[in-house]
Subunit: 147 residues, 4 copies
């Protein structure tokens, strides 16, 4: 798909993303880690632990959704001017298979970065024995907020 | 809006909803409580605690989304035949205002209960000094799964 | 659901909505009519004709979606300041039953009107022998645009 | 993103897609053409004409949404067993830029084909002087229906 050129206006974008992620008590709480942040892209890992599962021992759908949201948010933060923030306006996620395995991997990718609104996609997979199986697809909108 | 007559096929529907909710380690973990379940409807409360907030001390958007999802799921469970389950196929949530206050309230309502797919809405509000302010609106799809 | 007080800032809001609707060649083309516009609300009718159906003689899902979108847009226009416009940022629609009957009715309702973004819902029903059956539920986001 | 192997169970899948598309009076009516159908993928073109525009001469958002929906539907039909149909359960589209130019191009791609539910994405671009600009991103769910 065609998209805007994704040149980060903030040369120190990786630090901005890491600071935002580090400032999320809930992500820390469940043990999620931001493993990469490139212009318009991000990757987050969540190792298995029983608190993030639902009644049948799969990862909770809400946790999967939350990781999708965070992966999209981190991808967006790579493209923000220094000092700017972005808030999730809305997101839509399809849970396409049960999330299972030793880890969840969420990847975000900006589709279009406008001045006010930024649209991005993210995908979440369960990793089992090193092999990924897609468990969610997400499409969402964020809004930039001047500090 | 016109909708199907919402007569629970399971007379013991309230117990079925409560068992499903009780079986969710994550909901317990964050302190969410199912406070009511009527035919096609549900209400969930989440008292404030710092683990469920984001970097600016508002409730985390992902937590708000997760409560929407659970409220919808509980509303759906009130209409399932005994022994049947339902899984979230997809959901879309608009975060319409920052979630703040001493508690979040999430209410789910079934829009249409088909044999295979069930569509429902949910809303989340922040309660501050006893007054509610809407913070999210959600529209979602669940699929019934025979046990 | 709690929502903002919906006082139209433009006393002549009904004319603004009607002008916007009248300026849509496609709505005219398929024969859709705006039948009411109140603060934060709208209603649109589409009488049956074969061009708006799909392969099995039901109303085309895309037409149902388009009416949802227009109903939401018209509801939003009732709350805009004079001279302002609004564009659809995104929308999500559930087709909950086949659309059939002598007419489709679409109703829009604003959920929250912010300065930049406006969230609204809409529902579409098929009318058959005077009785309505819900066929779609929609949740969408619009953005205000200064002229 | 990881996805299912996309082997069409119907060797004559292309004909099945073309018949479905040809049976849509509305698509004919606006002049849309199915230009390709490969396993799990489709492409549809809509040449410019004034009936499909909105008040400011851009392509109508509803038309863009409808093309997204059709592109997704056609991609899904390439993977159905002979004689099976699929209906749109729900779709969510982001209008990311005004649709303009001499033609709209919509491309659908299946994300996951389950037995009952199929999730797919589609994108729509405006073509102007031969160059594409993305105007919409879509994520949707279809349900298979035995004939």
């Amino acid at each position: 798909m065609a998209s805007d050129p994704l040149t980060p206006p903030n040369p120190d974008f990786e630090r901005a993303v890491r600071e935002m992620f580090a400032g999320q008590p809930f992500m820390r709480h469940i043990g999620a880690r931001l493993v990469s942040a490139a212009p318009g892209r991000s990757e987050i890992h969540l190792p298995f632990r029983s608190e993030v599962t639902q009644h049948d021992a799969y990862y909770h759908g809400g946790i999967i959704a939350m990781l999708s949201d965070m992966a999209g948010g981190c991808a967006v933060y790579t493209l923000l001017p220094a000092g700017q923030r972005a808030l999730t306006v809305e997101f839509k996620v399809n849970i396409i298979a049960p999330g299972q395995g030793e880890m969840l991997v969420a990847r975000g990718q900006v589709v279009r970065a406008g001045r006010t609104l930024i649209v991005c996609r993210s995908d979440v997979s369960g990793v089992r024995g090193g092999e990924e199986t897609a468990c969610a697809a997400c499409l969402m909108t964020l809004m930039t907020v001047p500090r």
